[in-house]
């Protein structure tokens, strides 16, 4: 059967059809939809784990136990899981293990654009790179077979453009039957206990495995030579293959479905058949450097950029500059003398509970060490309330380090519920253990919002939506040795302020759990009631606009005295969170209760 699938959906189908039984992941754009697609499929177990390292360990355990397993993460997730990635390369597994990681060239929603093919080489793990949704589906099965044939984990590297592009995929719609007997655990301490003595014996095995994989790569069906005109030969991988075909329809192409290890003889043969050899690859010159090490003249990053995504326009224009195409190949562009336009960046949604907390940290002039989540967007004007963001879980450790450096003012660490479970917990433990005085605000919006509302250990639901015990933030903080723990409603500005002032007055570690459901959760949406501005009372002072809510807009009506436009609330956007109503000094924004009174009259 044929279906139009995204690369992520295709990976899920590929996993299901090729007999993956266990899959684990931490959500992260652009990889999230893989597990969401796989989880409802029959006869497969999938779970969200608190972080990527746990996900990989779970998948490793399943593969040790003889079941085909898959761990899924975004590119920076592999940094978190790197320790496990390296040991499982050393041990191998009993059944197949594939690690799917989605890189994010151009950083559509990431803090860097690291090229994870380096991890493959670093850990001696083969790397497969699909070029479209069909290959995304097919390569999962190929990866699993390679994993079992060579006793190695396999890295399946996607990029945003593969994960989030849709193409026609031919599916089987069936999968191999599950063996009926329970798996028995095979004990093999020499292979699976990586103490130095055993590890020293395993390292040569791993090196020898890479050599065999390199030999395998020579005849691997997905390392494909397409001989056409011999004047130009292009080596390419992943989505870059599509751009190469589009811009150079007559060029000869060596498409590498496996980019580590590379097939050296195949590359030498291909290079000998073309006059000029180039590599088109996104991000780092990974293939290019491998080829150059063979002593073969090759060009790549001298023509095409390292930074950002490619597309056919960039490939075409750089190729023209490099003399690979005539200047007549330029695609004419329409006349656009449009001048500067107002930007439309992603913003905290109307009704976002984080907004109130940041309004208060601004009021108290606090420097905020932030973390990864929707709340990172509070760095933007008009809030401008978040001052660092590096990676998952960094906020608390950074704020603690700032305090230990002797900075007079108290920085505040701000971290979301899911991010706290991910890597925030050890950092909070560190604050308590080392007698810091960092104030940690846990923004508990009862979901993993940024990636589209995934469950986490704090929500009381599993990936499948089944009820499960919800972790207790307050009890966790107490158990770590933190006495001063407040719980507040993020929508209640007074409550947030009182708690923060109490923490600031005491020289000890403190936690404020700011709790309020994400306004976009389906249950919460049912309770939206748009507020209204009392035009008589509003004098256009603009205080409410500083809250930075998209539902608050300038009306066409000017205040007679101030001459400034009055505030208006867009009823299609407003959720009725009442943060602006608490901020208004003239009580011109009606609270929910006042609305119903007004209606009653």
């Amino acid at each position: 059967m044929k279906r139009l699938l995204s690369g992520n959906e295709a990976v899920a189908w590929g996993a299901w059809e090729s007999g993956v039984r266990i899959a684990a992941a931490y959500p992260g754009t652009p990889s999230t939809e893989i597990l969401e697609t796989l989880a409802p499929m029959p006869d497969v177990y999938a779970e969200w784990t608190p972080n990527e390292k746990v996900a990989l360990d779970v998948a490793v355990g399943a593969a040790y136990a003889g079941k085909r397993a898959m761990a899924v993460m975004k590119h920076v997730g592999l940094n978190v899981a790197a320790d496990s990635f390296f040991y499982v390369s050393m041990t191998g597994t009993e059944a197949a293990l594939v690690i799917v990681c989605a890189d994010d060239p151009f950083m559509h929603s990431s803090q860097n654009e690291q090229d994870n093919r380096h991890y493959a080489k670093f850990a001696r793990v083969p790397c497969l790179e699909p070029a479209d949704s069909q290959e995304a589906r097919d390569f999962v099965g190929v990866a699993l077979d390679i994993s079992e044939q060579f006793d190695t984990p396999v890295l399946l590297r996607l990029t945003t453009r593969i994960s989030h592009s849709y193409g026609v995929v031919e599916l089987k719609g069936t999968r191999p039957p599950q063996p009926t007997e329970k798996p028995t655990y095979h004990v093999d301490t020499a292979k699976y206990v990586m103490v130095p003595g055993n590890a020293r014996r395993r390292h040569p095995v791993v090196e020898e495995r890479v050599a065999r994989l390199a030999e395998f790569a020579e005849t691997f069906a997905h390392n494909r030579v397409e001989l056409r005109d011999s004047s130009l030969g292009i080596v390419c991988n992943g989505v870059a293959y599509q751009y190469a075909r589009e811009v150079f329809p007559n060029a000869s192409i060596l498409k590498l479905g496996m980019t580590y290890p590379i097939p050296t003889k195949l590359i030498r043969d291909f290079a000998s058949q073309v006059e000029r050899l180039i590599v088109i690859e996104e991000l780092d010159p990974f293939i290019e450097e491998e080829i150059r090490q063979l002593g073969i003249p090759v060009e790549g990053k001298s023509i095409f950029p390292i930074c950002g995504e490619l597309d056919q326009r960039i490939v075409r224009e750089r190729a023209i500059e490099a003399g690979l195409l005539p200047s007549s190949a330029h695609v004419p562009v329409v006349n656009t003398n449009k001048g500067p336009l107002p930007p439309r960046p992603p913003i905290l949604c109307p009704g976002c509970p984080h907004r109130g907390v940041f309004h208060v940290t601004n009021k108290l002039k606090l420097v905020v060490n932030g973390d990864i989540g929707c709340y990172t967007l509070a760095f933007l004007p008009p809030l401008g309330a978040l001052h660092t963001c590096g990676c998952m879980g960094a906020s608390i450790g950074v704020a603690h380090g700032v305090a230990k450096a002797g900075v007079a003012q108290r920085n505040v660490a701000v971290i979301g519920d899911s991010t706290f479970f991910h890597t925030g917990m050890p950092a909070l433990l560190n604050v308590a253990y080392n007698q810091g005085n960092t104030i940690t605000i846990i923004l508990d919006n009862r979901t993993t919002a940024m990636t589209g509302h995934q469950e986490n250990p704090g929500t009381g639901r599993t990936l499948q939506g089944a009820e499960t015990p919800a972790a207790d933030f307050e009890a966790l903080a107490h158990a770590m040795g933190i006495q001063r723990v407040h719980t507040v409603d993020s929508y209640n500005l007074k409550e947030v302020e009182t708690a923060l002032r109490d923490c600031l007055a005491a020289n000890e570690p403190a936690v404020v759990v700011a709790r309020r459901e994400c306004a976009l959760l389906p249950e919460v949406k049912k309770g939206w009631i748009p507020l209204r501005v009392d035009e008589e009372r509003c004098n256009g002072c603009g205080l409410c606009f500083r809250v930075g809510c998209p539902a608050l807009v300038k009306s066409d009506v000017l205040d007679a005295k101030t001459g400034k436009p009055k505030a208006r609330i867009d009823p299609l956007l407003c959720t009725g969170c009442e943060i602006c109503a608490q901020v208004c000094a003239r009580q011109a924004i009606l609270f929910r209760a006042q609305l119903s009174e007004a209606e009653g009259e």
Binding site: L4, D132, Y166, C349, G452
Partner: protein, 197 residues
């Protein structure tokens, strides 16, 4: 060789993705190879959203290059101007006569370009630009949310090679049952309106 590239642009929550899903289904049903690629920003709502849909005998790149879009369907006026350079010099752009103020505009730090400036930019780019009252027509149907499908109906007017049935059959594939009739009417309203532009 047939090749039709569609760029769709709007603001998060406007239904850009549904419209591009419908367009993809139609392309497949009339026998093309189809690829679709989405760029949605970090927040769930409020940011710029673009979607690339490509129909051809064989589609390679999932993206449209700058200057290659044969049709540009803009669900919001500012987004039409923002992405106009994606249009082929002979391309057709359909603009929903609807503005959503970015935060910097509602807070008074920026100004939203007026209609005259928008029309000047579009007219300089292509002789084929159409100002479609998509939002007004959707509101006449009693549901502003279907302005995306109204716009898709208008687009269909320019694709004379695609039978009406292909469009109408795509709707039930992508729309929940209770909204099929509404979307069907929205589509036909947009298609009819385009004939009078």
């Amino acid at each position: 060789m047939t090749k039709i590239d569609f760029l769709l642009a709007g603001v998060g929550g406007q239904g850009t993705i549904l419209a591009s899903d419908l367009l993809s289904s139609v392309g497949l049903s009339v026998g093309h190879d189809v690829k679709k690629s989405e760029v949605h920003g970090m927040a769930q709502r409020g940011g710029s959203v673009t979607s690339h849909v490509r129909w051809a005998d064989k589609v390679y790149s999932p993206l449209i290059g700058r200057g290659e879009a044969d049709f540009f369907l803009a669900f919001e006026k500012l987004e039409a101007v923002r992405h106009i350079e994606m249009l082929h010099p002979n391309g057709v752009v359909l603009v929903n006569d609807y503005a959503i103020s970015p935060l910097s505009v509602s807070s008074g730090d920026d100004e939203y370009p007026d209609d005259e400036r928008i029309k000047t930019v579009l007219a300089a780019a292509t002789p084929n630009y159409y100002w479609v009252p998509g939002m007004r027509l959707a509101e006449e149907l009693g549901n502003a949310r279907v302005n995306n499908v109204v716009m898709l109906g208008s687009l269909s007017h320019f694709l004379s090679g695609v039978p009406l049935e292909a469009w109408l059959q795509a709707i039930p594939e992508r729309v929940p049952p209770r909204f099929i009739e509404l979307n069907r009417r929205a589509f036909l309203l947009g298609r009819e309106a385009a004939g009078k532009l």
